[in-house]
């Protein structure tokens, strides 16, 4: 198994009452409420959490990015990946990921990622995402071309990594006179690409056709099973067999020394889902052209309040469905075993805390996960044959069917 530590890097130090009064805490919620003194403290706390995660035995650190919202302070995952490339020694740096459509210059992204891969001595996993709807608005990128830009930028980046320059790129959304960056990834054929997602079938199908692992983000177990049904079907049509090495899952999981403490802190997972504060207006999070046409009817009804939020399950429901797992190491292990048995992922991210969980409680959670939960999961993983892409020497992709290895190191 590949076991990762993750935090949204919540910017919890803002006046929640102001968010409640405004009715939203994304995109248009004024950054006059942003406190850079608290921001500086929190960034450094999060760096310490990553350091502890490596120390206690996590295999990877998963990073992401969002814009214009307190639920995630990380506005550029490549910045934290750069820091961690130099300050960690062993963990994989798993970016889930860079929002490709937001990039006006994908070649620049290819360069940054190559630098991170070289500095980290080949520890980069370079996931790509479409970016949330509000991110398109926050960066002024046209949501109607989101998927086209995602696919074209991906194609350009992989070509930049795998074919010698200089070459010219005349695409629909990107045009580059000279593609010839003097920074290339250490890993060959190129760093692994994992694709995270939550809702859209198009992304699952796209990932399966490319033979990229798909990382389901905190979906309910039944929904996760449907994702793997679809992925495996497309994999079979594409000519390979799906299975654990193509499956990842992000689990919200908080552990503490007592059940009560764990449950109290786990309630903070609802922080960014609008229970404590509103998040975003539906037309910000899903601007026209951004979402799948198949969802149009459901979406427009949701946007005017005629349907409830498809992601609006209550805390109790999410505890019952195991979208949130909380407890002592002893009580969470059987729950995680159920997840592994029923959905068979080999990549598991632990989203360990959110919102206002204290620095001390977060550190305790990371240590308990590392010392007590991860060893148990490794045993379960072996028992169930959940070999990660690294353990299975899985191919990087359909187009590049070799495992990724740092150049200059014998296989």
């Amino acid at each position: 198994m590949h076991l990762m530590y993750f935090t949204e890097q919540p910017m919890s130090a803002y006046p929640a009452q102001a968010g409640l009064e405004f009715g939203a805490t994304a995109l248009m919620f004024s950054n006059k409420h942003f406190d850079p003194v608290a921001g500086s403290r929190l960034y450094n706390e999060y760096l310490e959490h990553y350091r502890i995660a490596e120390e206690v035995g996590f295999d990877g650190i998963m990073l992401n990015e969002h814009h214009n919202a307190p639920f995630c302070m990380q506005a550029k995952c490549n910045v934290f990946a750069s820091i961690l490339a130099a300050t960690t020694r062993r963990v994989k740096l798993v970016l889930l990921g860079n929002p490709l459509p937001l990039a006006e210059n994908p070649v620049r992204l290819a360069e940054e990622l190559a630098m991170i891969d070289m500095v980290s001595r080949g520890r980069l996993v370079s996931g790509f995402v479409r970016g949330g709807g509000q991110e398109q608005l926050a960066t002024g990128v046209n949501p109607a071309y989101n998927r086209e830009r995602f696919e074209e930028a991906h194609e350009l980046i992989v070509k930049t990594w795998t074919e010698h320059g200089p070459f010219r790129w005349e695409g629909t959304h990107y045009q580059h006179r000279v593609v010839n960056p003097w920074a290339l990834p250490l890993q060959k054929p190129h760093p692994r690409v994992w694709i995270p997602g939550v809702l859209s079938k198009e992304t699952i199908i796209w990932a399966a056709k490319k033979r990229y692992p798909y990382i389901a983000l905190s979906t309910a177990i039944d929904a996760t099973k449907k994702i793997w049904e679809l992925y495996d079907k497309v994999a079979a049509e594409t000519g390979y067999q799906g299975g654990p090495e193509y499956r990842g899952y992000l689990q919200r999981c908080h552990v503490a020394e007592t059940e009560e403490k764990a449950m109290e802190n786990a309630r903070q997972f609802m922080w960014m889902q609008g229970e404590f504060t509103g998040l975003a207006h539906p037309v910000w999070s899903s601007p026209s052209g951004y979402f799948s046409p198949a969802m149009r009817t459901a979406f427009v009804e949701f946007a005017v309040g005629r349907r409830s939020n498809p992601r609006g399950a209550t805390f109790d429901d999410q505890i019952r469905d195991q979208q949130i797992v909380a407890g002592t190491p002893k009580t969470v292990i059987p729950k995680l075993r159920r997840l592994l048995e029923e959905t068979r992922p080999s990549i598991l991210g632990f989203w360990a805390a959110d919102g206002f969980v204290s620095n001390q409680d977060t550190q305790t959670c990371i240590r308990l996960l590392g010392q007590e939960v991860l060893p148990a999961l490794r045993d379960i993983g072996k028992e169930l044959g959940l070999w990660s892409p690294f353990e299975a020497n899985a191919p990087v992709s359909l187009a590049h069917p070799e495992p990724a290895r740092p150049a200059g190191v014998d296989a």
Binding site: L137, G140, A144, W284, G289, F299, V300
Partner: protein
Amino acid sequence: MNVYGGDGPPALVLHHDIGAPERPEFYDALAQHFTVFAPSHPGYDGAPRPDWMRSVRDMAVVYQGLLAQHAATREPGTLTLIGLGFGGWIAAEMATMAPRAFRRLVLVGAMGLKPERGEILDQALLSYIDYVRRGFANQHAFDRVFGAEPPTSRLEQWDLNREMTFRIAWKPYMYGPTLPYLLGAVTTPTLVVWGARDEIVPRECGERYAKSLANARLEIVAEAGHFVDMEKPDELARLVARFASEV
């Protein structure tokens, strides 16, 4: 293409970014004076989407091509071109391409010019209903045209139309940076009409259109928002007819 009336001289009406209601009162009122041609823009109100289209100027060229294909609209100097809001921007672009092609030009709350002081309201930040309601000075008029709670099918149509608008007018949003420099060559007699309470396109844009075009004047309609044609259909039709009959 919908055609209203049939006796009068030809008029082409270009609809708003939100599309057009099923049978607009304004079109019927106008049909007492004109033969009204009311197409759906490519990609709007169920018309096939031209995936290649990237700008409002592209749209204007497509319309020029369509006009050249039809006997009723082919003859230069016969057609009255009426643009509503976003359709006004298309109409203005068309006029710059063919300064002598139209008999009359009418721009109603037209997008297309960058306001110097205010801003054009960004629909990307508003839900479908909220955006359209902002275009009405009197909310009863909205209720009359769309119903107080528009059905889901209407919302889907607004979403599709919004997507097409994003495809061709996302950035810069709702104006063409070069349009002001092209308007000066247009000699077509032009009536610029603005709702006194337009909260979508600032009135200064109307003033600028009237100033930039060689032969234009501005009329303000009291108690109307951006959707003058839906709030004051008869009054707007009368204004257009009177203007068209001026020698």
